[in-house]
Point group: C2
Chain length 217, copies 2
């Protein structure tokens, strides 16, 4: 459908478009202008037009965007039109939080396995999915088709486990361990570094206090 390279910034914004369009769809909104969408999302209408033009421009002058069509097309671009099978490696609180987060399934992500090294939780289950021993990971990946592995384990263990998963054929790593993984180029990774996000908030707080003090001078 589209062939040119899309900038990282646009890709970063796509899931947000997808979320907003999904909400519109849930409220039976059939079409929306870039102006209305921009007001809801808090970005400029011209940014929206520019972003969506990357994908061939789904809008029509004076008519606006067809919400369902745009939602589905962005979904395809994001790879949500096919099933993504997920395993979770590390069944602590964070791993269990993700397993319990039903929202992923609506988007074609299916959690098919949860693994841990802790024998006291192996055999118990989360949302109907049994926690398996981490020793059975390689075998499991051989037998099942798994696209994505979620790493919710201590940072000391993450690099080795990620390397093993890559060796066993996993192509996508969603990494929550606060460390950068060095993986073969064909393995895609996305990091959620929580401490870094919290530090950005702390920065904003400090900067806003500073501005306030300046205004008061």
């Amino acid at each position: 459908m589209y062939e040119k390279e899309i900038s990282t910034a646009v890709i970063r914004r796509l899931p947000r478009y997808y979320r907003y369009l999904g909400e519109l769809l849930a409220h039976d909104v059939v079409r929306i202008s870039s102006k209305e969408l921009s007001e809801r999302m808090g970005v400029t209408a011209s940014q929206i037009r520019q972003d969506l033009n990357n994908f061939g421009g789904f809008g029509q002058q004076g008519y606006g965007y067809n919400v369902e069509y745009l939602y589905n097309e962005i979904g395809k671009i994001l790879g949500l039109d096919k099933k993504n099978r997920i395993i979770i490696v590390g069944a602590g609180n964070l791993g269990q939080a993700i397993a319990n987060y039903g929202d992923f399934e609506r988007r074609g992500f299916e959690i098919i396995g949860i693994f841990d090294v802790n024998p006291s939780i192996v055999g118990t289950s989360v949302r109907g999915i049994t926690i398996r021993s981490a020793e059975t990971l390689e075998e499991f990946i051989k037998v099942h088709e798994v696209e994505i592995a979620v790493l919710t384990l201590p940072k000391e263990k993450a690099p080795q486990v990620a390397a093993d998963l890559a060796k066993w054929g996993i192509r996508g790593i969603w990494n929550f361990a606060p460390t950068d993984l060095h993986l073969p180029p064909h393995v895609m990774q996305e990091n959620v570094h929580l401490a870094e996000s919290l530090m950005r908030l702390s920065y904003k707080l400090k900067a806003s206090e500073k501005n306030e003090k300046k205004r008061k001078l």
Copy 2:
């Protein structure tokens, strides 16, 4: 110390510098050149020099950066030189995962309260912190100094709770609910939208498969 506006992109990268410098410090590294740091971090040396120049340039030609000094200075910029008191609103798996994540405390973030509406968990505790009834939130905020509230609750409830927290004086919201909050301009927010992160991974997977197919043609 510095007065000019710093771009969002630089701010996004600062916590990562901070993390790497912290690791170097833990390994007793005293100084590092922008070249070495760039190799570890996988960014160009000129990017590092540019980024750090925003804060007055802590490096010296031919000597490199003093790791501890740079770590502390970035820490100050990020507001980590003072205590940030945190409350967690929503004590489900995700809220508990955050409460259990000891790493935050090393960086001056202190979790002083956890709240939930579910009477069956109110009164139990996580890492020594008692889960309190959400009804006591306003009173708690009045009595304690709280800088940051973590929202780990369903998206339907997040907007109202965030508005209440802002009214009661909270200045920083770390939002995990998959919805954008519309808050007064003096309230800073940082969002962790997990589903969006997962969709970005899904996009990368699809794009990489596509490239592979092209190479094979």
